[in-house]
C-alpha cells in the first residue's frame, strides 16, 4: 500500500509488479538505497566493523574470503574473515567499512570547497563581465589545460601525503567546472527583466547577486556537484593508488587496491573488493546525479 501511495502521481494501471517496476524506473531506488547504506556504514564503521582496521594478524596473511572453507579448515587457529584479509592479516571487510569514511568525507569536503569557490567566481564573472570575466575565464582555461594528475603528485610530495593535502588537491580539481556553468547561467539570467527591475528599484549589487541571481543557479550548482562527486572519489582513489594520496596504513580504498597488487595471482580478493567498493559507490552517485539532472536541469544533459 505504501508503494501505491508513493506512485500516486502515475496512472494506477497494471499489476503491482508493473507499478513497482515503473516506480523503480522513475526514482533512483536502488542507487539511493546503496548510497544511504554506505553513508550509514561510514558513520557507524567503528561500531559495526568486525575487527579493528589496523589489527594485524600474521597467521591470517592473505586469508581468503569465507567461501574458501577448505583453507579455514586447514588453518583452524585463524579467525574467520568474511572477505578475507590482506598481506599483513588485516580484515578486509573492516578496512573497506572504514574506507567508506575516508572516501566520503574527503570527497564531500572537496566538492563543498570547490562548489563554494567555483560558484562565487562564476557569479562574479557572469555578473560583472568585462575584465573580471576575462581574467577568471582565462584562468579557468589555463587551469583546465594543466595535467592534473602530475600537479597532484607534485603537491603530494611537496606538502607530504596526508588526508588534508588530498582534500585540498581535489578541491583544486573540482572548482573550475562550477565557474564555467554558473557563469554561463548567470549571463543569461542577468538579462532578464526581473533583474533590471530589481536594479531600478534600487537593489544593491550584493542583493541582486545573492538574492536574485543565486537562487536561479542553485539547481545547476547542485546538479554539477552530484555529478562531480563520483569523479572526485575516483581521483582520490587513483592518487592513493599511485602513492600520492592518503598515506598508509589508513584504510583508503585506492591504497588497499595497490597493496593487493603484488599478491594478485595468489590473493585476488585483496585488490578486488576495495575496488568494487569504489565502483559501487561511484555508480550509485552517478545514477543519482543523472536522475537529478534530468529532473532539475535537463539543459546540462551534455555534461
Amino acid at each position: 500500500m505504501a508503494e501505491a501511495k508513493a506512485v500516486s502521481g502515475l496512472r494506477r494501471v497494471g499489476t503491482l509488479a508493473q507499478r513497482g517496476w515503473r516506480f523503480n524506473v522513475r526514482w533512483p531506488v536502488l542507487p539511493s538505497f546503496i548510497l544511504v547504506a554506505l553513508i550509514l556504514t561510514a558513520i557507524l564503521a567503528p561500531w559495526i566493523a568486525p575487527y579493528s582496521p589496523y589489527k594485524t594478524d600474521l597467521l591470517a596473511r592473505n586469508a581468503p574470503p569465507f567461501w574458501y572453507s577448505g583453507w579455514y579448515a586447514e588453518n583452524p587457529d585463524v579467525e574467520k574473515h568474511f572477505l578475507g584479509a590482506d598481506y599483513v592479516g588485516r580484515d578486509l571487510l573492516s578496512r573497506i567499512m572504514h574506507g567508506a569514511r575516508i572516501s566520503l568525507t574527503v570527497s564531500a569536503i572537496a566538492i563543498l570547497a570547490g562548489m563554494l569557490v567555483g560558484s562565487t567566481l562564476g557569479l562574479l564573472a557572469g555578473y560583472f563581465g568585462g575584465l573580471v570575466d576575462e581574467v577568471i575565464t582565462r584562468f579557468v582555461d589555463i587551469w583546465l589545460s594543466l595535467p592534473f594528475i602530475l600537479i597532484a603528485m607534485v603537491a603530494a610530495i611537496v606538502l607530504g601525503t596526508s588526508t588534508n593535502v588530498v582534500m585540498g588537491v581535489l578541491a583544486l580539481l573540482a572548482w573550475s567546472v562550477f565557474v564555467r556553468n554558473v557563469r554561463a547561467e548567470v549571463l543569461s539570467l542577468k538579462t532578464r527583466d526581473y533583474v533590471a527591475l530589481a536594479r531600478v528599484a534600487g537593489a544593491s549589487t550584493s542583493r541582486i547577486v545573492l538574492s536574485h541571481l543565486l537562487p536561479g543557479v542553485v539547481n545547476t550548482i547542485v546538479v554539477i556537484a552530484t555529478l562531480r562527486v563520483g569523479q572526485l572519489i575516483i581521483a582520490e582513489a587513483t592518487l592513493s593508488y599511485l602513492g600520492a594520496g592518503i598515506p598508509s596504513p589508513t584504510p583508503a580504498w585506492g591504497l588497499m587496491v595497490s597493496e593487493g597488487r603484488d599478491y594478485l595471482s595468489t590473493a585476488w580478493w585483496t585488490s578486488l573488493f576495495p575496488g568494487a567498493a569504489i565502483f559501487i559507490l561511484v555508480m550509485a552517485l552517478n545514477f543519482i546525479g543523472d536522475w537529478f539532472r534530468d529532473r532539475m536541469d535537463p539543459r546540462l544533459r551534455q555534461l
Binding site: S145, L146, P147, I149, G230, G254, L264
Partner: protein, 318 residues
C-alpha cells in the same frame, strides 16, 4: 577567420606559458635538488665542490631566473638534463614518446570505434535492449577506476585465462602489425579507452536523439527515404559535430589515464617516466614531460576548435 586563428594561437602560447610556470615553481618546492647529489658536507663533499655543482646547475640563482633560463633553453630545443644520470631530457622524451603515442592511438581508435557506433545504435533503438546495453557500457566506463579495472583484466585475462599478455611492452611495437605485437596493446588500450568511449557514446547518443527528432529528418522519412539512409546521411552527419568538441576533453583524460595505465601495465612511456620523475624529485624531467603533455593538449584543443568551425559554418568567429 584569420583573427580567430591568431587569437586561439595566442591563447595557446599563453596557456602553455602559464602552465609550465606553475609546474616549474611547484616542482622546485619539493626540496633542494642539491640534496640528490649529497647531503650538506656528506660523502666528503667540500663546501667549495658543493658551491661549484650548485653554480653549474644554476641552482644558486633566484627561482624566476631559473625558470627563464629554462624557458630560453626550451625555445632552443634543450629541455635540460635529468638530475640523476645527466641524460638529456629531450632524448628520454624522444625514447618514451613513441610508446605513449602508440598506446594513446590504440586507445583512441578503440574509444571512437566503440563509442560512436554504440551511441548511434543506442539512439536509433532508443528504449530497447540495445539502448540499455549501450548505456550500461557507458555507465561502467564512467564509474570504474582505471587502475582497478586494469588490475582485474590482468588477473582475469592474463593470470587466470592466459589469453593475453599482461601488457609489459618491452620490445613490442604497434608497427609492424603482427598479432603478437597487437596482443600487447589490447588490455591497456581497452582500459585507457573505456572512459572516453563512454563519453563519445553519451554525447553521440544525445546529439543523434536531438537530430532524429528534428523537422528535416521527419521530412526525409515522410518523403520515403530508406531508414538506413536517413540515419547515416541525414542524421549522423549532423550529429557527429558535438563529439568533436569532446576530443579535447578526451585528450586530458588520456594524459591522466596514461600515467595510471602505464603504471599498471608497466608500460615504458611518458606516464611511467612522470611517476619516476616525481618520486625522484627530478624537476627537469618532470617539467619536460609536463610541457609535452601541455603542448599536446593545447594543440589538440586548437585543432578541435578549427575543425568545429570548419564543419559547422553556423559557428561565428569572434
Amino acid at each position: 577567420m584569420q583573427k580567430f586563428i591568431a587569437r586561439r594561437l595566442l591563447f595557446m602560447l599563453f596557456s602553455v606559458f602559464g602552465a609550465t610556470a606553475v609546474v616549474f615553481s611547484m616542482s622546485r618546492m619539493t626540496g633542494d635538488p642539491m640534496l640528490l647529489y649529497a647531503k650538506p658536507g656528506g660523502y666528503g663533499l667540500t663546501p667549495e665542490q658543493e658551491a661549484f655543482i650548485r653554480k653549474k646547475l644554476g641552482l644558486d640563482r633566484p627561482l624566476v631566473v631559473q625558470y627563464f633560463m629554462w624557458l630560453n633553453n626550451v625555445v632552443h630545443g634543450d629541455l635540460g638534463k635529468t638530475l640523476l644520470d645527466e641524460r638529456a631530457v629531450t632524448k628520454i622524451i624522444g625514447e618514451k614518446w613513441g610508446n605513449t603515442m602508440q598506446l594513446g592511438l590504440a586507445a583512441g581508435i578503440f574509444s571512437v570505434l566503440v563509442g560512436v557506433p554504440l551511441g548511434v545504435l543506442s539512439a536509433v533503438k532508443r528504449g530497447t535492449v540495445w539502448d540499455f546495453m549501450g548505456r550500461t557500457f557507458a555507465l561502467l566506463g564512467m564509474a570504474t577506476p582505471q587502475f582497478w579495472i586494469g588490475l582485474m583484466f590482468i588477473f582475469f585475462f592474463g593470470v587466470k585465462l592466459h589469453w593475453l599478455p599482461t601488457g609489459t611492452k618491452y620490445g613490442y611495437e604497434a608497427f609492424p602489425m603482427s598479432w603478437d605485437n597487437i596482443r600487447h596493446f589490447i588490455l591497456p588500450a581497452i582500459v585507457l579507452g573505456w572512459y572516453p568511449a563512454a563519453g563519445f557514446l553519451r554525447i553521440t547518443r544525445s546529439a543523434m536523439l536531438e537530430i532524429l527528432d528534428s523537422e528535416f529528418v521527419k521530412f526525409a522519412r515522410a518523403k520515403g527515404v530508406r531508414g538506413q539512409l536517413v540515419i547515416w546521411k541525414h542524421a549522423f552527419r549532423n550529429a557527429i559535430i558535438p563529439p568533436l568538441t569532446l576530443i579535447a576533453v578526451t585528450l586530458t583524460g588520456f594524459i591522466t589515464g596514461a600515467v595510471v595505465v602505464e603504471q599498471v601495465f608497466a608500460w615504458p612511456g611518458l606516464g611511467s617516466m612522470a611517476i619516476y620523475a616525481v618520486f625522484n624529485n627530478d624537476f627537469p624531467l618532470l617539467t619536460g614531460i609536463t610541457l609535452i603533455f601541455i603542448m599536446l593538449f593545447a594543440t589538440a584543443n586548437f585543432l578541435a576548435d578549427l575543425a568545429y568551425g570548419y564543419l559547422d559554418p553556423r559557428i561565428r568567429y569572434e
